[in-house]
Subunit: 344 residues, 4 copies
């Protein structure tokens, strides 16, 4: 396979390379950049010295036509303009931006403050939540790869919502993320001295991942209540923990939640149900495509606490994108992604 | 004033010294230890070299009798045995452990798995939440200094509960703490490599601060619903952020919450209401006795998100203890505590 | 005393405020800014809410004339232009930039790549290494406050060089600093994800603190060999450790080094000689004006390893500046600076 | 190939698994433990759930006889007793402890304070510095895998010493390491709050890696001067930077150093010479077997500053061990080790 990456210089793009480089079915990786073509990639990123020394190429139709799949790891607002030009008969596209995730144009414009992508492309795009939409993904030409927070939240809550084990009203989701989620552009919110030794909260009830989560809950679990969703920044590079709170339905116990999750996920290689609360933490999945889930039901309150962790750059971005590529090309779902977490 | 500290070698005890050392009304600080008496304190803690070089003293009645106030920064289960021996006509005691916080013996035994302290002492102890219990604190002989999480949670929620602005049912509290909250005894949960670059969750719905929070909500806001309470460890030394979620009463707006908080706290030196969500974070209060509070009401869900931050070792322990001492001795509430946060 | 701070929005300026705020001899602090005047300071820095709410003032001669002392915490190249305008009969100036540190114009221009300040001002400026230049400082109108690295290096090496205990040839100095030394302007070198979990080295043998160190060694210890000097960035906010290597003179032992240091420093409140190698670390001095020093002599090689630690923002900047102010105004040297390190 | 790991529960052992798991020539990994046999490995280490669920086996001769190679990742003093029992005609052993590194029994006993291993085994052991001892490694039955500091130091200095480009007298080596180098046993030196936001120095001129470095310099570069060697702990999980200082021989320039290094290493896949000083840092090699080297010559002093970085757990332990296994079994040197660094 011939693979292209547009936007390889961002954190998501670099992470794509980390996995594509060892993917057994990939013959060549072509790197594209709008602004830095001609530059040897390892001049910019010395960690790639002696590994990926090739130059960045210009984004040109001819070069792209010869590829089998292109990953667009471009900012929201850019992908929607770029993809209509590169999506051809031959080329499949996996978009890591938010542009094609929201089906409702009004919602997209409200939460993203950007113009919605052209309808035909939006229409044909398939939401790439691998464990929930595999059949559609296999047939897709254009994948809207899920956001990092939605991936963590949906993988843990969808089975329980789908099976009516937890109440879809009054869902509270408190998410915590490492700093890499905010990208590599320097600003006061990622200055070391101002993020280190600090927890902050941002975009309270305003995060653009809210409509994505609600849309997927409606699509896969047929619920339609608005969620309360908070995002926090904690001083570490990688990792998301989503702690969700829901009323359980009458008589439901912790083991009902566990059964539901095991039923859904035991055959899926990347989802792990963790019994022991002391073993659910972001370092358990670091650097890999795993999503770990733990549940607790409190009899005093009749409420469940549901915790999931992912590496935001892997299962929350590049890893799931490659998982989707594998599905689209009929490969083993975990091809190129079988790695042991870099726990410490 | 002659002041004693029992348990000066723990993180809470060291933090007491940091503030007592510059307190204008204190003449002498006497340090006591059950196990390490005779040792020059600065031999153990070199950061005190040339500052506090005196030896640790044995815990003896005669030495304690001459003091005006003793801080007991001892583990739960130890204070309850120690305090009956040192509380005399003359000596006032401020206990930083959990032993005298829970009035109901059954609750204490259930959550702490320890025997409750002798009733007469438990009965006379006063809960030291400075901004809510000042009149009782001023008359007290024995203060049960609040826990770190309860302080952060109660200061932000009590005004809103008391004034019926938020719904006391279905309170969800998601708290995040730095590692110092777990004490200075080395174990796998505070090993650098296993806590760094990691978020974990612990004691889900089992934390001994739950009955303390519920008791204070009942005492000061007359509510009696069980809370859902989660505690997370994030990789930093100090700081607690408590993110709380509640339904607002019909028609209530964000500015109603703000008014309520300003009414309650504008005259209190250590509580600050922060308008700008991007300015509420643990580093804003680091090293000081401040508690910052921010609120957000989401019209889509009718739910409020209420955020408070403290330094767990200061307002959550040593600082509030000294604030209580000031109240007990008729001093200015902020005496010895007026410091600018060590923001970076 | 009426005190002014120009450049209060930088890390050094903020740290000045942290100490000046509790300084018993200061009546008022006036904050000046060239670009942000009129802004309430605590709107920009929420950690100052309810503490320093006054607006930033414009830098105007009339306002400055009424002050007793002005701290200029401005970038190099700015102070040299500003100070000639504010230095009057009445006003004393303490400059925290590098502009007045290098007496030799050629050296300044070579290492700073900036035009040297006007000669008369350069000539009257006094190098503010408090423990070594107190008599001159007491008489000074204009202080060139030392750089952070030079402070750590000089305090540990000067006594040993002065007394010919170590060899001034072949001095190797390997310094490590927290990220705050690089200032608060966001760039790739202080992006959290790229500095966290990382050690880097910068300005190898090119740091502008090299001529400052060599000049002071010549001035106070009468040596004149070029030094080898490396600076590393380590993932923490504050702190400098300088590890220096020198041949010891024939027959010199570890206890000779210790005696020399004790002789020089035992009467100085902020310099501490640490016997136990396991107790010399940057956290031992965090947030305070202390400089801790440890020495080791290796008989196998006849070489000494000399370690010193400071808080780069305190003894390496704001703290030493206030110590110099105290000396200039005949106050107790440690006035406003007696604090216990915030060890954890 | 059938591979065994003894001591899989330590950081080095876990890292071996991370690479062996994806090694194309390995059929089975057998995990042994003296104390925890029978326990499912992923019960202890949840990051291995769904990956390595097999139980730990008892260390028994029969089980070990059937293996092709055994990695002993056991403490110093344990390997020396264990290896004589497992080294048979069939089984090759790669020892990650320090036991077989020091050929001189007296030196071992002096620096390690332990009894030296039996002479015949010590005699047949081969020092596993892959890039310098490949021919011996290929023929070896027992490998003494190098220490983490020696690997970083020797790879950068040996070419320059061997070719007489730098002076072997007066070598100063200032090394900095992440906390994982100290192992996973909790103690005050790896407690999060006491290592975070802190640099410390330890074992000044007393580190047991000193005789290992000196022995290898003698063996490969024929020099015999004692070195000055300091080790610092910096607050991060992984990574070593060694900054070394040496006089250059008369007339030698920076480009002479570069030529020497390129000549030696251009054909070696894991050694990279980095031109740009701003690109030499520990994160550039994180999680991988690379060693990056940068050099600087200061004309003012005639001294070279030589910097090298490795991941202490990979090139400094598990990665080099696997590289050595590849050499011993005639495989491609980089088999199983071709990974892109996890830069952020």
């Amino acid at each position: 396979m011939q693979v292209g990456v547009i936007g390889a210089t961002g954190y998501g793009g670099l992470e794509l390379l980390r996995f594509l480089y060892n993917h057994s079915e990939i013959e060549n990786i072509h790197l594209f950049s709008s602004s830095e073509n001609g530059v040897a990639f390892s001049n910019k990123y010395a960690h790639l010295r002696k590994i990926i020394d090739q130059p960045l190429q210009q984004i040109e139709p001819e070069a792209l036509q010869k590829l089998d799949v292109v990953f667009t790891s471009t900012p929201s607002g850019v992908s929607s303009k770029l993809i209509p030009e590169i999506l051809t008969e031959r080329v499949k596209v996996i978009d890591l931006s938010g542009d094609f995730r929201i089906k409702n144009a009004e919602d997209y414009e409200k939460w993203y403050k950007l113009a919605t992508p052209p309808q035909p492309f939006l229409h044909q795009s398939v939401y790439g939540l691998s464990e929930w939409n595999a059949e559609e993904i296999k047939k897709a030409k254009l994948i809207a790869n899920p956001g990092c927070y939605p991936t963590a939240v949906l993988l843990s809550l969808l089975p329980l919502l789908h099976d009516h084990i937890i109440d879809s009203e009054n869902l509270i989701i408190d998410a915590k993320s490492g700093i890499s989620g905010a990208g590599n552009k320097p600003n006061a919110n990622n200055h070391f001295c101002e993020t280190n030794e600090n927890i902050s909260i941002y975009k309270i009830n305003k995060h653009q991942h809210i409509p994505e989560i609600e849309q997927a809950m409606s699509m896969f679990a047929f619920t339609d209540h608005p969620i309360t969703f908070s995002t926090h920044l904690v001083p570490m590079n990688r990792g998301i923990m989503a702690t969700s709170y829901a009323k359980v339905q009458n008589g439901v116990t912790e083991s009902d939640l566990l059964s539901c999750l095991h039923n859904k996920y035991d055959q899926h290689p990347f989802i792990r149900i963790i019994d022991d609360a002391s073993k659910i933490s972001t370092s358990q999945v670091r650097g890999t495509n795993y999503c770990d889930i733990h549940v607790n039901v409190d009899e005093r309150t009749g409420r469940a606490t549901i915790i999931s962790v992912i590496d935001n750059l892997v299962k929350g971005a590049a890893g799931q994108a490659i998982q989707n590529m594998n599905l689209m090309f009929g490969l083993e779902e975990s091809c190129g992604l079988k790695q042991i977490p870099i726990w410490i």
